[in-house]
């Protein structure tokens, strides 16, 4: 298991939290909640060691579009980068969409 933490600049507060996914094989759980600070904070726990550079690439791309001051916790059980991106976008949609 490996723990990682990243910070990204944010432009706006986040009001509603969201939870998607499960810590099952090839999947991950995303908890998105308002960040106490002005930046976005990402905390990752993953079962697969040694892929910090891939996580950084996925997050860099995600935060090119996302600018909310969210705390995002990722509990990962071997999800591929594509699944990670889908779950992140699903969490944003759940946080900002019409239905909670």
């Amino acid at each position: 298991m490996e723990n990682m933490r990243y910070e990204y600049p944010a432009k706006r507060p986040v009001t509603r939290r969201a939870h998607v996914g499960v810590v099952g094989s090839g999947d991950l759980e995303v908890l998105l909640s308002p960040s106490p600070g002005a930046n976005a904070e990402v905390v990752i726990r993953t079962s697969v060691d040694g892929y910090g550079h891939v996580w950084k690439s996925v997050l860099d791309r995600f935060f090119q579009r996302y600018d909310g001051a969210a705390k995002i916790e990722l509990n990962d059980f071997g999800a591929t980068p594509g699944i990670v991106m889908l779950r992140l976008n699903e969490a944003v949609e759940a946080s900002e969409g019409d239905t909670p």
């Binding site: 939290r17 939870h19 499960v22 759980e29 908890l31 509990n75 990962d76």
Partner: protein
């Protein structure tokens, strides 16, 4: 409707997560989660063993209503650690049932449902998980004097180990055809006793022994349902409308007599149906 349309009209119960299962069984719009993922009540033991935690420890406790009556559903998430019962997930389920019991002691009614999907105790948490399972079993026995405790085994994990005993204690036990119920899972038996004893890869054999169809046919479970959320919900509501029935586990003499009929050297699923068949 032809078979194709019927299939498409169904919402699969098995494919849902624990949280979605609880939400779809409750009356629409009444789902409210207790100790949800943002409470971060995780297993303190998994991280020490280099295993990633889930924020709800794989147990979803939901309040809401069933047929307009207050209800509590404890749902186990199959995808997280095989639905295994750890110290925290087990305590959440036991506490939900114990709180339901205290409602009756205070003169209020509540409908308890357990959605089983578990390989049994979480081996990484050993005795702490086993202790929690004992608490779950004790709570079911205490609660079922007041109200039916309804268990549903969805599949595809099934229900094994100590939790299979908890399922057996339920007033009404609902299974899908895909669900399995047993003490030791087939993989465990093959590993311990050898492939000559049981080939866990023989799916037809496994399901013919411990699948929902067989378990209901021999009276070890009560109702067989299709993998259809509406049908599961209707069956659960029906169990509460019937009220408290005689419990299978109180019929000790009956089961001893049934066991006496069985010759362990010549037993197979069809023979068992002939000996024990209820229908």
């Amino acid at each position: 409707m032809n078979a194709h349309d019927t299939f498409l009209a169904r919402q699969s119960f098995i494919e849902l997560t624990a949280r979605e299962r609880a939400r779809t069984l409750l009356d629409p719009g009444t789902f409210r989660e207790l100790l949800g993922p943002f409470d971060h009540l995780e297993s303190p033991w998994l991280a020490m063993q280099d295993i990633v935690c889930q924020a709800d420890d794989g147990a979803v406790i939901a309040r809401g209503t069933l047929d307009g009556e207050p209800a509590v559903i404890a749902a186990i998430e199959p995808a997280f650690q095989g639905g295994s019962i750890g110290e925290v997930s087990g305590a959440k389920i036991a506490a939900a049932l114990e709180l339901a019991l205290s409602e009756f002691e205070a003169g209020r009614a509540i409908r308890p449902v357990v959605l089983f999907e578990t390989g049994g105790v979480r081996l990484q948490e050993a005795n702490l998980g086993l202790a929690a399972i004992a608490e779950i079993q004790a709570a079911i026995v205490a609660l079922r004097q007041h109200v039916p405790v309804v268990g549903v085994i969805g599949g595809m994990v099934g229900c094994f180990g100590g939790m299979s005993l908890a399922a057996a204690l339920c007033t009404d036990l609902v299974m899908t055809r895909q669900a399995r119920l047993g003490m030791n899972g087939p993989e465990v038996i093959e590993q311990e006793a050898g492939i000559e004893e049981l080939d866990s890869g023989d799916r037809r054999l496994i399901w013919s022994m411990i699948g929902g169809d067989e378990r209901v046919a021999v009276g070890l479970a009560d109702t067989l349902v299709e993998d259809d959320t509406d049908q599961v919900r209707e069956t659960v509501l029906g169990a509460f409308r019937r009220g408290v029935q005689k419990h299978r586990t109180e019929d000790v003499d009956g089961f001893i007599a049934r066991l006496a009929q069985v010759n362990p050297d010549a037993i197979d699923p069809d023979t068992l149906r002939t000996l024990w068949g209820t229908s």
